[in-house]
């Protein structure tokens, strides 16, 4: 699984590519956390446009980043979710914690919604 991180206005966008399962999640987590600690962005967007599979490891990844980042005053949002990934995240109730945006849905600045 590949991750590359770009800045977009005040946010850091993490583009995830591949299958997000227990085997692949640790390397993704390390990359995001390392960036978050080193660059202390105000917003992090996880872009799931390239994610071809996701199970509960994806829930754990998002939940874990949510806890870590909110403690560091950084907001988190997730965008470009496939219908499947969206279904899994909704099942976990993640929509109550972070902004979830499906593929093809409008609005690239959704992270602003989570700002106090």
């Amino acid at each position: 699984m590949q991750v590359h991180i770009e800045t977009e206005d005040a946010a850091a966008v993490c583009y995830l590519d591949g299958e997000l399962d227990h085997h692949n999640a640790p390397s993704v987590r390390e990359k995001i956390d390392e960036y978050a600690v080193g660059s202390t962005p105000k917003h992090i967007i996880l872009d799931f446009g390239g994610v071809t599979f996701m199970d509960s490891s994806g829930i754990g990844l998002v939940m874990g980043r949510y806890k870590l980042l909110s403690a560091a005053n950084c907001t988190l949002s997730v965008r470009n979710l496939s219908p499947h990934a969206y279904k899994v995240m909704r099942l976990a109730g993640l929509d109550a914690l972070v902004t979830l945006q499906k593929r093809g849905e409008k609005g690239g600045k959704q992270y602003a919604k989570a700002e106090k």
């Binding site: 199970d55 754990g60 976990a92």
Partner: protein, 149 residues
Amino acid sequence: MQKPKNEVKLQLDSRSVNEGYARVAVSAFAAVLDPTVEEINDIRTAVSEAVTNCIVHAYRNGMGKIYIRVRLFDGGKIEVQIRDRGCGIADVQKAREPLFTTLGGDRSGLGFSVMESFCDRVRVRSELGKGTTVTLIKTVKGRDASREP
């Protein structure tokens, strides 16, 4: 007892790299049912949960074998059995509760909830020190939903 139309068995080492292989193998075998994208994703995800549990829980102290049996029945029914000879589950009912996890970290305790919501039925048999068998059952309607049941 219904007779299966087709059956396949797989045996995997409990290495995390095999999670992807198990998903691909089961979904390739199920392809003959002509499932929708959503149905095939449901099956892949449920299988991924059960296989991951064997690796992270059942065999948390070492390597072991994971046994998978997939059976297809008339009417689009698929049954996937995932079995391990690992540590077993002390209280299955508790283990199946949403958010229950013995691991913490980035585990959310939602694996069984995902299996239950993406399959029609999930059966769990477990014995401490002996191992666990998870059986996933789903009837696939298929892309040609007008097909006779």
